[in-house]
């Protein structure tokens, strides 16, 4: 195995080894001043973009413990009253207003399967006397189940009096 050894002005030295396998590989050094990242020690990367990284077990600096952490795959905050409108969203291409208190959330990029978990909160707009509940996978007009798909899921809002209701604040997050 060939190698290049660089000796410093002091006793330190660094050795670059060529792997003992066939093939011609190229190692291109960056055209800027900086340090090469290795896997041998903890190092800090600042303002680096990792494109589709494979993170085996994410541990954020502000999180204790080593339990795996799963980020939301999609989310949306929208107004279901008056002019129905999306306030903000991520990986949501649109919502569909199907009728009173009946919405479909459509994903920009589809989920791997339909076994995701939607978390839905609603706030009716306070001053409303009836509490409301968000019911996943429900057609509010026919009161029948709508099977979630990889590209969309349906959610309906009903009051404690079992009437369809437009929520002022709808919060949806999808985990998978």
């Amino acid at each position: 195995m060939a190698s290049i050894k660089l000796k410093g002005n002091t006793s330190g030295e660094i050795t670059i080894d060529v792997p003992a396998v066939a093939g011609a590989n190229t190692l291109t050094l960056p055209a800027t001043t900086g340090n090469v990242v290795t896997d041998s020690a903890t190092q800090t990367l600042t303002n680096k973009t990792l494109t589709t990284p494979n993170i085996d077990s994410a541990e954020f600096a502000t999180v204790s413990g080593t339990a795996p952490l799963y980020a939301a795959r999609a989310w949306v905050n929208f107004n279901g009253q008056g002019t129905v409108a999306i306030r903000q969203s991520g990986n949501v291409s649109s919502i569909t207003d199907n009728g009173t208190g009946d919405y479909t959330v459509n994903f920009t990029t589809a989920m791997a399967d339909a076994d995701y978990t939607p978390i839905v909160l609603n706030a009716p707009g306070y001053g409303v006397s009836l509490p409301t509940v968000a019911l996943a996978n429900l057609n509010n007009s026919t009161f029948t189940e709508v099977t979630p798909t990889t590209s969309a899921f349906r959610v309906s809002i009903r009051t404690s009096g079992n009437a369809a209701y437009d929520a002022k604040y709808m919060y949806v997050a999808i985990f998978r």
Binding site: V84, I95, D97, S151
Partner: protein, 61 residues
């Protein structure tokens, strides 16, 4: 986005798609989110009533 996509749903009413700011055009969102075989129309948001009292009775004319 100041546009909406309207189509007649299976219950005989109309569904209204509200586009997100997701980098897709209104036509791309329509192609993706309108159920297959449904005829749709792209309208201005100002054309959609804001009084939803009888929302389930809305029809496309």
């Amino acid at each position: 986005m100041d546009k909406r996509i309207v189509y007649k749903n299976d219950e005989g009413g109309i569904s209204i798609i509200v586009p997100a700011d997701c980098g897709l055009t209104i036509e791309e969102i329509a192609a993706k989110d309108v159920p297959a075989s449904k005829t749709y129309h792209i309208v201005d948001v100002a054309d959609i009533p804001t009084d939803r009292t009888f929302r389930n009775a809305w029809e496309w004319q």
